[in-house]
């Protein structure tokens, strides 16, 4: 069977997210595991994963690279490459516990690294730090056989595997981590993936995306975003959505409200009814970024260092529920996934199609 990247594997799923609005890393990893466990039937056991933010306070200023290795030589090659450009502050296997439902695990390693600018400038000249990290990740994933970097942000990390999400959470011992933002994903793909790297969330720098749905616009989006130095190697919806968000937020400098206006743009009949100035702005956005319109169904939660961004497609073809209690915001595919961890949650509501949920952390979280 072909794996992600060799063939396109569509899937349906479950997603959940929790964010502490002050940026205080008080949410234990077990919470998000309990939340997604309740949506067991939305997955088929072929993928599960989590993203946690604020989980590495001792190494908050270093990039935390999470890497899968198929074999020892992949690890050697990768570490030699990292040594060229980075100061490796700490490295270790990611601690796991044996779970009978998680099998065929690759080697899973974690490195806290700082780019050494003098070494980079020698080789590559003046360079933007984040651009360099992205290029490094693309290089390792494409050129080094058997190595796959699946998390590359600061003070955040993605944990994923082939299995039900509650088993994945148990496997990675997520109860030992505390963060201010967690997202989770349970996968129901329609081919059999053989591969841990294909599970979700998909991450690049501090952007992580969990996605429920299957986008019809995939190839139109992919063939456009690849013009801007992104390589869609996994052929998954989540990958292309993450690249689109990275492109619009980091490279174009748009805020998340504008990003929602681009990827879930209002219909022309709505734009034609707007006042002239506003209509003109939406017209220009829709015309310029026509190929970044994402035609659904989709329900996404994107975590980033500044907070959380959640969105449904314009026709609201996937579910999404939001609730809040005591400075913590909960978002999930089902209300039950929120109630199981916060039984007295307040203000439960469902956003409209195309209406973004943006929760920014104030306070010192980065």
């Amino acid at each position: 069977m072909l794996r992600e990247g060799q063939v396109r594997i569509p899937s349906g799923c479950a997603i959940s997210g929790i964010i502490q609005k002050q940026g205080k890393p008080e949410i234990n990893g077990q919470q998000i595991v309990d939340s997604i466990a309740v949506m067991h039937d939305r997955s088929n056991g072929l993928g599960g994963g989590f993203a946690g933010y604020g989980i590495y306070p001792e190494y908050a200023d270093s990039y935390a690279l999470h890497i899968f290795y198929d074999d020892f030589s992949a690890r050697q090659e990768t570490e030699a490459y990292l040594d060229r450009y980075f100061d490796i502050v700490n490295l270790s296997r990611i601690p796991v516990r044996k779970n009978k439902n998680i099998v065929d695990e690759p080697m899973i390693w974690r490195y806290f690294v700082n780019p050494v600018f003098t070494k980079i400038q020698e080789d590559k000249g003046e360079i933007d730090e984040e651009k360099f990290i992205v290029e490094m990740v693309f290089y390792v994933n494409a050129a080094i056989d058997g190595a796959y970097i699946f998390s590359s942000g600061k003070n955040m990390g993605i944990f994923k595997a082939v299995g039900f999400p509650e088993d994945v959470g148990d496997f990675y011992k997520l109860e030992e981590y505390n963060g201010y933002l967690w997202t989770a994903h349970g996968r129901y793909p329609t081919n059999t993936p053989g591969w841990w790297g294909g599970a979700h969330p998909f991450g690049l720098l501090d952007y992580s995306v969990v996605h429920n749905g299957e986008i019809s616009s995939y190839d139109a989006n992919r063939r456009f975003i690849e013009m801007f130095d992104y390589k869609c190697t996994l052929l998954t919806d989540t990958e292309v959505i993450t690249y689109i968000i990275d492109y619009l937020n980091r490279k174009q400098g748009f805020d998340f409200k504008t990003i929602a206006d681009i990827i879930a743009a209002p219909f022309w009949e709505e734009i034609d009814r707007m006042p002239a100035d506003e209509a003109q702005k939406y017209k220009i956005l829709r015309n310029t970024f026509a190929s970044l319109l994402i035609t659904g169904p989709f329900s996404i939660i994107c975590g980033y260092k500044g907070g959380l961004f959640a969105l449904n497609d314009r026709l609201k073809l996937r579910s999404m529920v939001v609730g809040e209690k005591d400075d913590v915001v909960y978002i999930a595919s089902e209300e039950s996934a929120i109630r199981v961890i916060c039984p007295d949650v307040e203000n439960v509501w469902a956003p409209q199609g195309g209406e973004p949920i943006i929760v920014e952390v104030n306070g010192e979280a980065k």
């Binding site: 139109a220 504008t258 015309n287």
Partner: protein, 501 residues
């Protein structure tokens, strides 16, 4: 009188039991095929001029007429076919190059018919076009690579001029001179009603059609007929015609007998003189010369009009397109080898040029590989025959399509392919006043509008079926297509997978 080697290709069969001798066929046939014999009180037919335009058949009130291909043929020979032999006789007799009209009729692959479209099922819902918005609006023009937004959230970047279309379809260039004034009127009015554009072709723009300017693309061809400042400012965009799919590499020739008073005025040439469009533009001998013309036109129109460059689909179309995309053009129009024409040398029409499906796939991929796909929009034609072709073209990467032959058919054309004679019985490809009168612009407009409304409806149904509700999500979405009966090379060039994969 020499030996007549060419037997008339068509026979006119009249059912005497049905014929009521109303003489409509006699009045309608400009090739003088029907005549009423007073003495014998019977209709007679002379098949020697018949071109099978179906005018008499369509108008006969009792359907008494049938035009059939003659059974009188040379001995069957796979290599030396009937027409091949007849063409040698013609050339031996006249010493002239063969001339033909309309698009390549030969049996060569039609790739549209070898591509199949996806539909959503189970993992992704289809969308109901009757209940949900289904958007087919497109903008043609150069797109910026970044947008600057000020503190208040307003966009401060300037966008290049765009052409806004309610449907991704435009009427292709057909010159006034090759087709009649009534045909042009119908195209102009229909384009305005539909919110799209039609193209003047290289014959200039008649004054009375200036009010339709916002829905007009004015063409600047190698003969520069009718080109003056008002003309350039009149349209929604300017098209530089570098080539045409039906006759790549050669120019055009409108015989003097078709240049009457009105045509002469619109083209700005003397009445009765031949209108010859030279092969290259004689001020464009290289890509940098094209860039110079593009900017001359933009200067002359104050940078208010997008500039389209129309090329024929030839072997190195990708490289040419890449050059054009970097030359300041806003839109590239590619015309495939099946494109129509008023008149072209037969051998060139039948043997020169490549299929538009392959050209489009190659150009779209090349521009994306070079990261310059945003510099231009792509419009394709030659030939687009129905709404499924349009969906496939957009999925391959086109922004919009041009239709020529299909539009003329909506006006009544029966593809008899004798436009070069100027005796079009349907009033389309002629300048003879008595014939032109037969094409009623009101009815013509209504037919064009009907055709495109029908296609729009079909496009929306197909889009909804594949779970797409905005045409921009279909553009370049190659995964929505699969090939059947195509070789690996063909699949590779089209950039699509085989059905079953």
């Amino acid at each position: 009188m020499g030996i007549n080697y060419i037997y008339p290709p068509f026979e006119i069969h009249r059912d005497p039991n049905r014929c009521i001798k109303c003489r409509v066929c006699e009045r309608q046939c400009s090739n003088k095929c029907h005549v009423y014999d007073e003495e014998l009180d019977v209709m007679k037919a002379d098949e020697s001029g018949c071109v099978d335009c179906q005018r008499c058949v369509s108008l006969c009130p009792t359907r008494a007429l049938r035009i059939v291909p003659t059974e009188n043929k040379f001995k069957k020979n796979y290599n030396w076919q009937q027409e091949t032999i007849e063409n040698i006789y013609r050339q031996a007799e006249t010493g002239g190059a063969l001339l033909s009209s309309m698009g390549n009729p030969r049996e060569l692959p039609v790739y549209w018919d070898k591509m199949l479209i996806n539909a959503s099922q189970v993992t992704n819902p289809s969308i109901d076009p009757l209940r949900e918005p289904m958007e087919t609006r497109v903008f043609l023009g150069k797109k910026p690579n970044e947008l600057k937004i000020d503190a208040k959230g307003n966009i401060v970047s300037e966008l290049s001029p765009q052409i806004e279309l309610d449907l991704p379809i435009m009427f292709s260039a057909m010159s006034y001179g090759s087709i009649s004034a009534n045909a042009h009127k119908a195209l102009a009015r229909a384009a305005t009603d539909l919110g799209i554009c039609y193209n003047t072709g290289e014959g200039g723009l008649a004054r009375e059609l200036y009010p339709y300017g916002p829905n007009t693309i004015v063409q600047v061809a190698s003969g520069r007929f009718g080109v003056h400042t008002d003309y350039l400012m009149a349209g929604a965009g300017i098209e530089i015609k570098m080539g045409q799919g039906a006759k790549p590499g050669i120019g055009g020739h409108l015989p003097g007998k078709k240049i009457g008073e009105a045509v002469s005025r619109t083209r700005m040439i003397p009445e009765g003189s031949d209108a010859i469009s030279p092969a290259p533009h004689h001020d464009i001998y290289s890509i940098e010369d094209l860039r110079q013309l593009i900017f001359s036109l933009k200067e002359a129109t104050n940078y208010e009009k997008p500039v389209i460059v129309k090329i024929a689909a030839v072997h190195n179309v990708s490289a040419i397109a890449s050059g054009i995309a970097r030359s300041g053009a806003d839109i590239i129009a590619i015309d495939g080898f099946r494109g129509g024409t008023g008149a072209a040398p037969t051998r060139i029409r039948d043997n020169v040029g490549i299929p538009i499906e392959l050209a489009l796939a190659a150009v779209d991929q090349r521009l994306r590989d070079e990261k310059i796909r945003n510099e231009v929009s792509i419009v394709v034609g030659g030939s687009i025959r129905n709404s499924a072709d349009i969906v496939k073209a957009i999925a391959l990467g086109a922004d919009a399509v041009y239709i020529g032959t299909a539009a003329l058919m909506a006006l009544g054309c029966h593809l008899c392919r004798h436009c070069q004679s100027g005796l079009c019985n349907w009033g389309i490809a002629t300048q003879r006043e008595d014939l032109v009168k037969r094409l009623n612009p009101d009815i013509g407009t209504a037919h064009l509008v009907n055709l495109l409304h029908a296609w729009d409806h079909e496009i929306k149904e197909i889009m909804g079926g594949m779970g797409i509700n905005s045409i921009e999500s279909l553009k370049g979405n190659r995964l929505m297509l699969r090939g059947v009966g195509l070789s690996d090379r063909e699949l590779d060039i089209l950039g699509i997978k085989h059905a079953g994969e």
